[in-house]
């Protein structure tokens, strides 16, 4: 559609179009509010005291002093266990991320560009497993890890986290569409070994897909609750599981703790915010990359 056409239409709006536009505007505003207000509330809540949270307007700003107080209360809780949880989350997510990249990128590359027996079987299996919700395998993985006595070890979180068929599929798609086989073959004819072809021809082209796989793997693992909830305990839990533990120290949600109040609601809100802060930041900074990447995904037909 040309700009001219747009302008012409704008000038002459029929009553029907007016209603349509009004409807669209209301719809968009309603849903924008639905999606964004909880987050704004969450960002503001930690700046308030408990009573301000209960009594003041929901979108009022408290004070920075109170934010600091809540921060201190949160990190003083259980002699700083919240920091330990964050550290665990980071350790599990990054370790799994590293293994995921090390195994997925070559695997996706091989599936796309190297012929070998069993390639199709591996590809179809990957697709099937990729489309299963990851939670479906959690209990079986727990039962398996329990049988081999790996429960409680950090490996019980990291290794299952590292298994990321979607990453392999993504790499496969990327290499089979974005890298031409002729380019690789030319390198081979020049006498380059497979390893050199991969390292010097394919890898330099793979930066976008490495970023994408890394992003999805990190987000999925950081936010995972079910698996770590089942396989690690005590001081080894990541922040998602710790957050739920924190809940039982909030008087409003756990009646028996009232006599010695430990965690107040604004502090719990702060914990919730911090537990998603890394992901939220990645989303904010990479928004163009992500939204465009996903949009393009739908576009590629």
């Amino acid at each position: 559609m040309t700009d001219l056409a747009v302008r012409r239409r704008r000038r002459a709006l029929t009553p029907g179009q007016w209603i349509g536009r009004a409807f669209v505007a209301v719809l968009l505003l309603t849903f924008a509010a639905f999606f964004i207000l909880p987050i704004i509330w969450l960002v503001l809540a930690p700046t308030k005291t408990n009573s301000e949270l209960l009594l003041d307007g929901p979108f009022a700003f408290g004070s920075f002093e109170q934010l600091v107080a809540n921060w201190n209360e949160l990190f003083a809780f259980g002699s700083g266990v919240f920091a330990v949880w964050l550290g665990n989350s980071a350790f599990y997510s990054f370790a799994a991320l590293a293994i995921t990249l090390i195994v997925s990128i070559p695997a996706g590359y091989a599936l796309a560009l190297i012929e070998f027996k069993g390639r199709r079987l591996l590809l179809v299996t990957t697709l099937v497993v990729m489309l299963i919700p990851n939670t479906a395998l959690v209990l079986p993985i727990f039962l398996e890890l329990s049988a081999v006595r790996l429960i409680g070890s950090p490996l019980a979180v990291i290794l299952p986290f590292s298994f990321f068929p979607f990453g392999v599929y993504l790499t496969y798609i990327y290499f089979s569409t974005a890298v031409s086989r002729d380019l690789l073959n030319a390198a081979r004819i020049d006498g380059a070994g497979e390893l050199r072809v991969f390292a010097q021809v394919a890898m330099p082209l793979a930066t976008p897909v490495i970023a994408l796989v890394g992003f999805f793997s990190f987000v999925a693992n950081w936010n995972n609750y079910f698996l770590p909830f089942l396989v690690v305990g005590g001081q080894k839990i990541p922040v998602q599981v710790g957050l739920a533990n924190l809940l039982s120290n909030v008087p409003a949600f756990n009646p028996t703790t009232a006599s010695s109040i430990v965690i107040q609601l604004p502090t719990l809100a702060l914990a919730t915010l911090l537990s998603v802060a890394p992901i939220l930041l990645i989303f904010l900074f990479a928004q163009r990359f992500l939204v465009e990447g996903m949009t393009a995904g739908g576009t590629k037909e």
């Binding site: 639905f34 999606f35 012929e115 739920a244 739908g298």
Partner: protein, 314 residues
């Protein structure tokens, strides 16, 4: 986590490119092939260890008791557990609510956002819809715990006007399918909207313009042109969300904790499987439930791969 995992897989899953120029066997040589195996070895190891073996082991457990083959005994026992059928009912009801609202609202919102001519406005809308996807798992449930508790909620006036005075009122068992739908929709819908938006971009501008010149209104364009183009994606979204919805766990688990079991700890099937393993020490029963869930998930994904047209492969 269950349903709020980034639906990104869809976004970057184009249908496979056909590569007619490929001459398979003749091109491959031993050296290349060997590197193929080396390159996939690490991944294959993980696939075996955390895809295949757990499945087989769960199957083994579900048909045995203390190592002795017992046929379908474990399944029968679980089925006769008074908590089983209600849990199936809870999950089914939730999935229905979730799928219907997801499909209807995502399609409408995608088309509406797509119709915005002002570029920055459309970009902003997509971003706003998408951002809650960053908050998943226990964090999103906790956030919604605040939103749903009339004493602290930013929308407490709304909750009170609907007659809800306390958290216990809001999360009454009858309301839970809606509550979980709202939570899941909040965190997950944005990703799908963005994906649908991308699919809508595919429709050539010529077709749209031609339709308009023929006098078709926005609604007619949506109904006769845009919707048919989206069906493939809608079915993908539907299947993925259906499979994910049956896995409901973290939402009822945390609400149960927050309400001192007024939201029952045996609300969903995964919770029941958890109770079997951790409270009753009955791994066979737990395995039986997870095998049932796994069969559903596997069935859905396999049907989709072999019958759906989204993954047309070489």
């Amino acid at each position: 986590m269950t349903v709020t995992a980034p639906p990104a897989p869809a976004g970057v899953v184009p249908s496979g490119r056909r590569r007619p120029e490929r001459r398979r066997a003749s091109r491959s040589n031993a050296g290349q092939s060997r590197f193929g195996y080396v390159f996939v070895s690490g991944y294959t190891l993980l696939l075996v260890a955390f895809g295949l073996l757990p499945t087989l082991y769960a199957l083994f457990l579900s048909f045995t008791r203390n190592g002795v083959f017992v046929g379908f005994d474990n399944f029968v026992r679980v089925f006769n557990d008074y908590r089983f059928l209600p849990a199936v009912g809870h999950v089914a009801l939730y999935v229905v609510f979730w799928l219907v609202s997801l499909i209807v609202l995502v399609v409408i919102l995608a088309i509406v956002v797509h119709s915005i001519r002002v570029r920055w406005l459309g970009d902003t809308a997509r971003f706003l819809f998408y951002i809650p996807g960053a908050i998943a798992g226990a964090s999103s449930v906790l956030l919604w715990l605040f939103v749903l508790d009339p004493s602290v909620s930013p929308v407490s006036a709304l909750l009170r006007s609907m007659g809800y005075e306390s958290l216990v009122n809001v999360v009454a068992v009858g309301n839970l399918p809606v509550v979980f739908t709202v939570i899941a929709f909040w965190a997950g819908a944005g990703g799908w909207i963005v994906i649908m938006y991308g699919a809508l971009n595919n429709i050539s501008a010529d077709i749209m313009e031609a339709a308009r010149i023929d006098g078709a209104g926005a609604l007619q364009v949506a109904w006769h042109i845009q919707l048919p183009m989206l069906t493939k994606w809608i079915s993908y979204m539907g299947i993925m969300s259906l499979a994910a919805g049956t896995q409901l766990f973290v939402e009822p688990k945390i609400l149960a904790q927050a309400t001192k079991n007024v939201v029952p700890e045996d609300y969903s099937l995964n919770q029941l499987a958890y109770l079997y393993a951790f409270r009753q020490g009955d791994f066979s029963g737990s395995a039986a439930i997870s095998v049932m869930l796994l069969v559903v998930a596997l069935g859905l994904s396999t049907i989709f791969i072999f019958r759906g047209r989204l993954f047309e492969r070489d």
